[in-house]
Symmetry: none
Subunit: 366 residues, 2 copies
DNA sequence: GATCGCATTGAATCGCTGA
DNA sequence: GTCAGCGATTCAATGCGAT
């Protein structure tokens, strides 16, 4: 059943295309539970009243000048509710969403995400290394934007490439604040007049980190506010599939040209540092069966506890007997214990963790 | 009229005291338009499930206090609406509010601030220099909290001491992200058992920046969730008046004792923001994210060894894979290797060390 | 006395798999 | 559906005791 859904979706989805239209209508036309990740950078300018929609998809009257602040928040909330709902329908159960915004709109998006049952995993701050200064000196330099990362629901098994992100950060786990420059220079797309093609083009570095961290090669990434296609460009580089939705023809044109020029990184470069959780399981008993450890042999802990190996791959130490993990936990009075790194054996006069033997077996398996 | 109000308030307000009671009731009993600034650190509504252990099996002492428990988002919203409304009534027309929270509650607070007509001036990110890591490797390190700074209404003449903040920041305009350490060491208040007196004590450096930036000497600052009184302590140091509201007797006692010890204008007691002029760390992965080096690109060593760049900022060369330093060391059979000077890339037909790219990034950051 | 190393700790929505 | 067992997982700072 699961396979069928996946296949069906893969066939029907308009992969690696930019769809013209209103993002809510387009998303509603796509099959449900078909997308791995959504990255959304919605408009937040309240002047764009004409782009707002009521929940029934009718357009809000743009000519109405009598809106007070409350009315405009209300309209913005309706718009937010509608597109987040459409987005949630097409997300796979283990899919996730990223939204980005500033203080003008991010609080309303965050609250609505929670209201709809999305489960917030982190809020991530994009700290701009070269923001525009506040010229009037009346406020703090607006030097960051906020992203929210959420799974479709509580308890969902979202993708998180912990080791790859840690590698990107030179061995230290990635934090919720990312220091990256804004999009300038030759990366910044220009129109035929030489003006910037899009007012809020996001840097590719931002998407690189998002996609390396929360998708796998081959995943389908949808961007309902595609703009000039940063999401698509980075997805293509990284060997992911994308679907873009954009209603402005000028943006679609720029994006298409841009993505056509992008070259996918070669396969070897796309393989990132794997998670240990994904490695094949090796029962401790196999070390005994293979004679790497002999029944009766004594294992030691870092702090000098000892246990004896038994023929069935269990350990015995005083009253405690059981798996390498159980006996380790019992001796340390700990809630749990990783026996693979806890127990050591003697090799060439040195104490070596038994995990080394497991690694040997795993190497043979490849 | 304005003068009269101010005088009246000054007479009636219970300045520099900690009031016992529910903050909503107490605020409703105070005269309207009488307070210059409100700083609020409300319960975050954390929803913790089981216990959490560090990798060394020690147990994390989590925030599981009764005052942080709410039945639902609806209940939390109701609470938020009520205290923000009470706060707004007692604010002077040109007064302002700061609230602080995490992704669990800050979106709901921000949206409600806007709904009530407060006017958001900035969201400010407190980037913690020493946050608690993510122990299970399932998310990003939760390394920041968010503050929202808002005036009572649009167009109000709020206080902003631009020059003072610029001076605090070594002559550079203050940004919306502040790097400050969490509250530890001697500043962290302990109870009679030597345990932390409050689970979420804020650092004085944070309040110092808030009060220097958005109040003047003599201003009245109210904190409806006073806790152990960081707001009061810093207000006293800086020659401001405070009003604290706190319903837990234990916290009030600690706060009173603490504030009694504080000396006004004691230069030595003033918190100097640590000026970190050390060279910022630049992970190699950032060169890849930023497109300065592309996945698949080949780096060379002075003696002709080669390695390929991968998307997660690691290198691969034959069997060796890992950081620029690890792979360099492996190829040279050396105990260590500075990958920044060891590895070169081609630029204009010449071989250039990748350290040049790091220097470019650092130059941008200053 | 200075230095080194080890233990402690902080607003946290912190597994997965197979029987 | 539940439940038990395997086994993966941490950074910066402070403070204390040993050298």
């Amino acid at each position: 059943m699961k396979t069928k859904t996946t296949t069906k979706a893969a066939v029907e989805l308009p992969l690696n295309t930019i769809i013209d239209g209103d993002c809510i209508e387009v998303m509603n036309s796509l099959p449900e539970s078909s997308v791995d990740l959504i990255f959304a950078d919605p408009p937040y300018n309240l002047q764009l009243k004409g782009e707002l929609h009521r929940p029934d998809n009718s357009k809000v009257d743009a000519v109405d000048d009598d809106w007070d602040q409350f009315d405009s928040f209300k309209a913005y909330d309706q718009f937010t509710r509608a597109w987040l709902k459409a987005a949630r329908r097409i997300l796979k159960p283990n899919g996730a969403i990223w939204v980005i915004g500033s203080y003008h709109n991010v609080f309303r998006m965050g609250a609505e995400l929670q209201n709809q049952g999305y489960w917030i995993l982190n809020d991530v701050v994009w700290r701009k290394s070269n923001p525009m200064p506040n010229f009037r000196g009346k406020r703090f330099t607006n030097a960051h934007e906020t992203m929210i990362w959420a799974s479709k629901s509580e308890g969902a098994k979202y993708t998180f490439n912990y080791e790859a992100l840690k590698a990107l950060n030179e061995g230290i786990q990635m934090r919720s604040d990312w220091v990256l420059p804004i999009c300038t220079g030759h990366e910044r797309l220009k129109d035929e007049n030489g003006d910037k093609a899009h007012p809020t083009q996001k840097p590719e570095s931002l998407l690189h980190r998002v996609l390396v961290g929360s998708t796998n090669p081959g995943d389908v990434i949808l961007d309902p506010f595609f703009g000039t296609g940063t999401t698509g460009a980075v997805a293509k580089m990284l060997g992911r599939e994308f679907i873009g939705i954009e209603r402005e023809e000028a943006y679609r044109k720029v994006a298409e040209k841009r993505i056509a020029k992008v070259r996918k990184f070669d396969k070897e470069a796309l393989i990132t540092t794997p998670s240990k959780r994904a490695e094949p399981r090796v029962p401790f008993g196999q070390l005994v069966e293979r004679g790497m450890l002999r029944p009766g042999e004594v294992l030691t802990s870092p702090r000098g506890k000892t246990a004896k190996v038994r023929a069935d791959g269990t350990l015995i130490s005083g009253e405690a007997r059981g798996s390498i993990h159980q006996v380790g936990a019992a001796l340390e009075s700990a809630p749990s214990c990783n026996g693979w790194t806890y127990w050591h054996f003697r090799q060439d006069g040195k104490k070596v963790p038994i995990d080394l033997l497991r690694q040997q077996i795993r190497a043979e398996m490849n």
